[in-house]
């Protein structure tokens, strides 16, 4: 799959959200997309998924089956989880039983008869993931897939991603939670100033180790000491702001 000279803006005279982006995503690619809020990550994902048309340039070689899991699953729909997934399975031309595998793997058995409007954020997110996986996707787009998930599903998701990639699928993940940062074989893409560029993992590791940015632009490490109980909340706040934040351990 290839993005050639791709540009996008919301209106004719609006500023470019993405400008002259060139990107190759061969089969089996797992790409993690990072960038600050409003940088254009979700727009890039929608262009990849084919739900938005480029203002200029082209997207070629998009696989026929695309799975798209949005950042916030729309729960304002008058269906139970089971009825919703049955409808989506039918539209995708597969049996309703195809949901069973994902009901088990994503821990959704107790949710099947629950109306979508009654779901918690994490449970709704699982429904969004399940519908994207009903048919093995050639292109899987996951917008903040780790957000609000329980530990079990957070651990399962990288395995699911690996399976899709191993079958020749392309997986593109927007990820503020750094759920895939240390995952082997991941291509790291950074959306910044309207462009998309690959960032070497080594550069990220160097930066974490000694502050030398490699071929990435100058960045700094700041130390923030907080009570151990608050660490996760503070890290999530920083991640939500678009910063790379990781808990390094306890200080004595």
């Amino acid at each position: 799959m290839r993005l050639a000279n791709l540009s996008y803006r919301y209106a004719r005279r609006a500023p470019w959200v993405l400008h002259e982006v060139d990107l190759d995503l061969p089969p089996g690619t797992v790409a993690e997309v990072t960038g600050r809020n409003g940088a254009g990550k979700s727009t890039l994902l929608r262009l990849l998924a084919g739900t938005a048309r480029p203002s200029r340039g082209s997207v070629s070689g998009r696989p026929a089956v695309v799975g798209y899991a949005p950042e916030i699953f729309p729960v304002e729909q008058p269906f139970t989880v089971s009825a919703y997934l049955s409808h989506m399975a039918a539209v995708r031309g597969t049996e309703a039983t195809s949901m069973e595998r994902w009901v088990d793997r994503l821990g959704m058995a107790a949710l099947l008869d629950v109306p979508l409007g009654d779901l918690s954020k994490g449970s709704a997110h699982k429904v969004g993931l399940a519908q994207a996986l009903l048919v093995p996707p050639g292109l899987l787009i996951l917008d903040e897939p780790f957000s609000g998930l329980d530990e079990q599903t957070r651990a399962e998701l990288p395995r699911v991603i690996d399976e899709v990639a191993a079958a020749g699928g392309i997986v593109v993940v927007s990820d503020h939670q750094n759920g895939l940062t240390a995952h082997p074989g991941v291509t790291h893409l950074r959306v910044e100033n309207g462009t998309v560029r690959a960032v070497a993992l080594a550069g990220i590791q160097d930066l974490a180790r000694d502050g030398s940015p490699g071929d990435a632009p100058a960045r700094s490490i700041i130390e923030v000491l907080v009570d151990a109980g608050d660490a996760e909340a503070v890290a999530r706040k920083l991640q939500a702001e678009g910063y790379e934040a990781r808990i390094r351990g306890e200080a004595r």
């Binding site: 929608r46 998924a49 084919g50 739900t51 938005a52 048309r53 026929a64 695309v66 799975g67 798209y68 949005p70 916030i72 699953f73 729309p74 304002e76 729909q77 008058p78 269906f79 409808h87 989506m88 039918a90 539209v91 995708r92 031309g93 969004g128 519908q131 994207a132 787009i141």
Partner: protein, 227 residues
């Protein structure tokens, strides 16, 4: 074709389960009560159908707009990927709207012979009524689609555009130039004249289909940049 049909089924199911159909249904009942509170005398059935078709345009537009707006914006994106391409999602929305409006139009056609007419009219009148309501459904779908949320995100602007559009069409169609807009007033006038099916309907249908096709092509083109 199959993903489009199944997606249309999903949209209709969501529309019915959300009870949004109650609003145009109440509108339909109000029109039926106004038109048929006293029974229509023999020979006056086709003019009644003409009035019904003209008055039901905003009801069909309301049903279309309500159906297209039932799906949350993000669900439309999911539906596009599930169906395979954006065009199928647009087609499914229009097909679902047509089915719902056709159901309402069916009621507007069969209720009068059952309770509104003094005598059951002949085939020519029923065919004339059917043709008029098909034109009304088409106009309603075009108006409803152009005022749906992907095109006009603001709810107040959308409602005003839909109702204002209907009033504008009514006013413009008062003019003696039939082709200026959808000739709603001419539908009503022609329905009261002899040989409606053979003399007036072809010309009125051609103009109506032209304007509705233009509106729907505009809607489809606008949806290319408004998923």
């Amino acid at each position: 074709m199959r993903p489009t049909a199944l997606l249309a089924g999903f949209k209709i199911s969501a529309y019915l389960r959300s009870h949004r159909i109650v609003q145009p249904f109440v509108g339909l009942l109000a029109v039926m009560i106004i038109l048929y509170s006293s029974r229509v005398a023999p020979g006056q059935e086709l003019p009644s159908y003409g009035d019904s078709a003209a008055l039901l345009v905003p009801v069909f537009a309301w049903a279309t707009r309500g159906l297209l707006d039932t799906e949350p914006d993000v669900q439309r994106l999911i539906s596009i990927t599930a169906a395979g391409r954006p065009g199928r999602e647009v087609a499914a929305g229009l097909a679902a709207s047509a089915l719902v409006s056709a159901g309402l139009a069916f009621l507007a056609l069969v209720l009068p012979p059952a309770i509104g007419f003094q005598a059951v009219p002949g085939t020519a009148v029923l065919l004339g009524g059917l043709a008029l309501h098909v034109l009304s459904v088409l106009t309603g779908i075009a108006l409803g689609a152009l005022s749906s949320r992907p095109i006009l995100p603001d709810a107040a602007t959308s409602a005003l555009t839909m109702l204002g559009g209907y009033v504008a069409i009514l006013l413009l169609s008062l003019a003696p130039i039939t082709w200026l807009t959808v000739p709603i007033i001419s539908w009503m006038r022609a329905a009261g004249q002899d040989a409606f099916l053979s003399r007036s309907l072809p010309g009125l249908a051609t103009v109506t289909v032209f304007w509705c096709a233009l509106a729907l092509v505009t809607y489809i083109r606008l949806r290319r940049t408004r998923p």
